[in-house]
């Protein structure tokens, strides 16, 4: 090449600017931690008795995973510039599959029924997620519409299969799944919290250190250039949907275990917190950017708001208003940031 090479060594200013650059790179995550601390400090100030005791943190660690387990993989879908609104119903659909398989064995070998039911639950979730991906990618239907459709569809299937009836989950207590998924480490740390951390680390690893994650970012950033450069954007998108499906079924199992009952309405309140976690966590609704760390921290911010409001003596009606506001404000912020960058 003829435009080669005034090779100049990096100037010392570049080295010194390293810290500033690092701060700028992680500005969003740092800001998020500050927001979390600020909100926590505020609630602590309003109700020191509640927030000074362990109970509230125990409850946060045991209930936040109910939606954080889905918000973490949903981050992948949103980075890939798609959306999934069906995961709440997929939680219940996974458990409906558990229900059917378990009842086959409940008289003869309930333990085996639990294990097979758990596998059926995860497979059902995988199938539902994969189907979302196929509908979006192969039929070219916008994911917003497609997953509203599958949301109603799977809820309907659950109602038909269970006949609107719940199921006691106590037989699971006899299996290792119970201590493994919702037990308490040392009687203190809920296992589902550990699973949330595992989910976060594994998803973070694949997003940042694996080809799949690189392709998720590229697909969401510029689907045409990704495709032209040989990225299999279709497979990438289908995979993200499938992962959310499995995660939703897993979360459904965890919730049902924690309360020891399968409600056919399982997952109906999950939509708002889960989406709010992803968007508050800084994942752009326009695709191409987002972090697992952001979603993880944001999920706990979202989780603390409800008890914080109640403990402060305000009406719980405020919660929904604030969640809605968080979604709108964080998405609006992304739009503003994006325009400034472009």
């Amino acid at each position: 090449m003829n435009s080669v090479a005034e090779t100049r060594p990096l100037s010392p200013t570049a080295q010194r600017g390293g810290l500033a650059k690092l701060l700028r790179k992680y500005a969003l995550q740092i800001a998020l931690i500050f927001v979390a601390l600020l909100i926590w400090a505020f609630f602590f100030w309003r109700s020191p008795r509640t927030f000074g005791a362990y109970d509230i943190y125990n409850s946060l660690m045991s209930t936040t995973p109910f939606f954080a387990l889905m918000a973490i993989p949903l981050t992948l879908v949103v980075i890939a510039k798609e959306i999934d609104l069906s995961f709440g119903s997929v939680m219940a659909w996974g458990m409906a599959a558990f229900d059917v398989v378990f009842l086959l064995f409940s008289q003869t070998n309930p333990q085996l029924g639990v294990y097979l039911g758990f596998i059926a639950c995860l497979l059902a979730g995988l199938f539902a997620g994969w189907l979302n991906g196929i509908i979006v990618v192969k039929l070219g239907i916008p994911s917003l519409v497609a997953t509203i459709g599958t949301q109603f569809f799977w809820r309907g299937v659950v109602m038909v299969v269970t006949n609107g009836q719940g199921l006691g989950m106590t037989p699971v207590r006899e299996t290792i799944l119970y201590p493994l998924l919702v037990g308490r480490i040392g009687g203190v740390i809920p296992m589902q919290f550990i699973w949330t951390i595992i989910f976060a680390i594994v998803t973070w690893f694949f997003l940042n250190h694996h080809k799949f994650g690189a392709h998720v970012y590229l697909t969401g950033d510029n689907v045409d250039s990704a495709r032209l450069m040989g990225v299999d954007v279709e497979r990438t998108k289908i995979l993200t949907f499938a992962i959310v499906g499995v995660a939703a079924a897993f979360a459904g199992f965890v919730v049902s275990e924690e309360v020891l009952f399968l409600w056919p309405t399982l997952g109906e309140g999950a939509l708002l917190n889960t989406l709010a976690s992803v968007f508050l966590g800084g994942t752009s609704v326009f695709g191409g950017t987002g972090t697992i760390f952001g979603t993880f921290v944001a999920a706990f911010i979202i989780a603390i708001i409800n008890p914080g409001i109640v403990a402060a003596g305000w009406m719980a009606y405020w919660t929904e208003l604030i969640y809605g506001l968080i979604i709108v404000v964080s998405v609006a912020l992304q739009a503003v940031l994006r325009r400034r960058l472009g």
């Binding site: 090449m1 003829n2 435009s3 080669v4 090479a5 005034e6 090779t7 100049r8 990096l10 100037s11 200013t13 570049a14 650059k21 790179k25 250190h209 694996h210 080809k211 799949f212 690189a214 392709h215 970012y217 590229l218 950033d221 510029n222 045409d224 250039s225 990704a226 495709r227 032209l228 450069m229 040989g230 990225v231 191409g288 950017t289 960058l341 472009g342």
Partner: protein, 258 residues
């Protein structure tokens, strides 16, 4: 002459619209072919067939180095060494420079785990040499959305040469560039020739195509209207003919001499 790429009798219709009809087109080894044509002449469709994005209608044949290719897919075209440099669509704006350089060809082990350090180091090396980025403000971690048009073009062409492309397709690479950036971009195209590779240079701007192309092919309304070796025509004669084409639909004053 040996051809790196040959299209024979390629047509493409989208529903009722015939974008290309019976096009014969070839690119020689180490040849820079300028592809000229108005909007809607079929340039983009032709490019998309060469890159495997579209399949030609039945009857069209594609040869790569003399071998017929049955079903040219995007992945196959890339394996063969066809690389496109699009003005707008080459880069993922929100991603870092190194992620763009290695887009779709990430260095990884057999489990798919990325070798991020190797990609960063290679990018730094390319920046210092081929891309000519000397500002310390730009690092492999810099987001390409902040680059100027010329820099972005440089990134895309460097990427193509780094991955040993045999045939580089430049789709209107000078569009929207300033004068100095255009010159830089044309230097990159001359660099393709020096590296012993071939290129298809698409532009409406004859001023840009003429100096760097070995041969110029004119496309009009989905068909090849004519082609010239650069030595055959002066710049002014070429302009005359193109003007005539726009007015009459024929490049020659007397079509029988064509």
């Amino acid at each position: 002459m040996d051809y790196v790429l040959q299209l024979k009798n390629v047509s493409k219709t989208f529903g009722e619209v015939a974008a290309l009809h019976h096009v014969n087109f070839e690119v020689g080894n180490n040849e820079i072919v300028g592809l000229l044509g108005d909007n809607g002449a079929g340039k983009s469709t032709l490019v998309k067939i060469i890159t495997g994005y579209h399949q030609p209608d039945a009857g069209g044949e594609i040869y790569w180095k003399g071998q017929q290719i049955d079903h040219l897919s995007v992945a196959k075209a890339r394996d063969l060494g066809v690389e496109v440099v699009y003005q707008e669509r080459a880069l993922a704006d929100l991603q870092s420079l190194w992620r763009n350089i290695f887009m779709g060809r990430e260095l990884s082990n057999r489990w798919g785990l990325l070798d991020i350090n190797a990609m960063r180091n290679e990018t730094q090396k390319l920046m210092n040499t081929a891309m000519g980025f000397t500002s310390s403000a730009v690092t492999p971690e810099s987001v390409v959305g902040t680059f100027s048009g010329g820099e972005r073009q440089g990134v895309a062409i460097t990427r193509a040469l780094y991955f040993e492309a045999e045939l580089i397709i430049l789709d209107e690479p000078t569009m929207g560039l300033s004068l100095t950036e255009t010159q830089k971009c044309l230097d990159f195209v001359a660099g393709i020739k020096q590296a012993g590779k071939s290129a298809i240079f698409i532009d409406h701007n004859i001023v840009h195509v003429y100096p760097v192309a070995d041969r110029i092919v004119v496309l009009d309304r989905g068909a090849v209207a004519g082609q010239f070796m650069k030595g055959e025509l002066t710049f002014d004669e070429l302009i005359d003919r193109l003007t005539r084409l726009a007015r009459t639909g024929s490049l020659e004053s007397n079509p029988h001499t064509a």
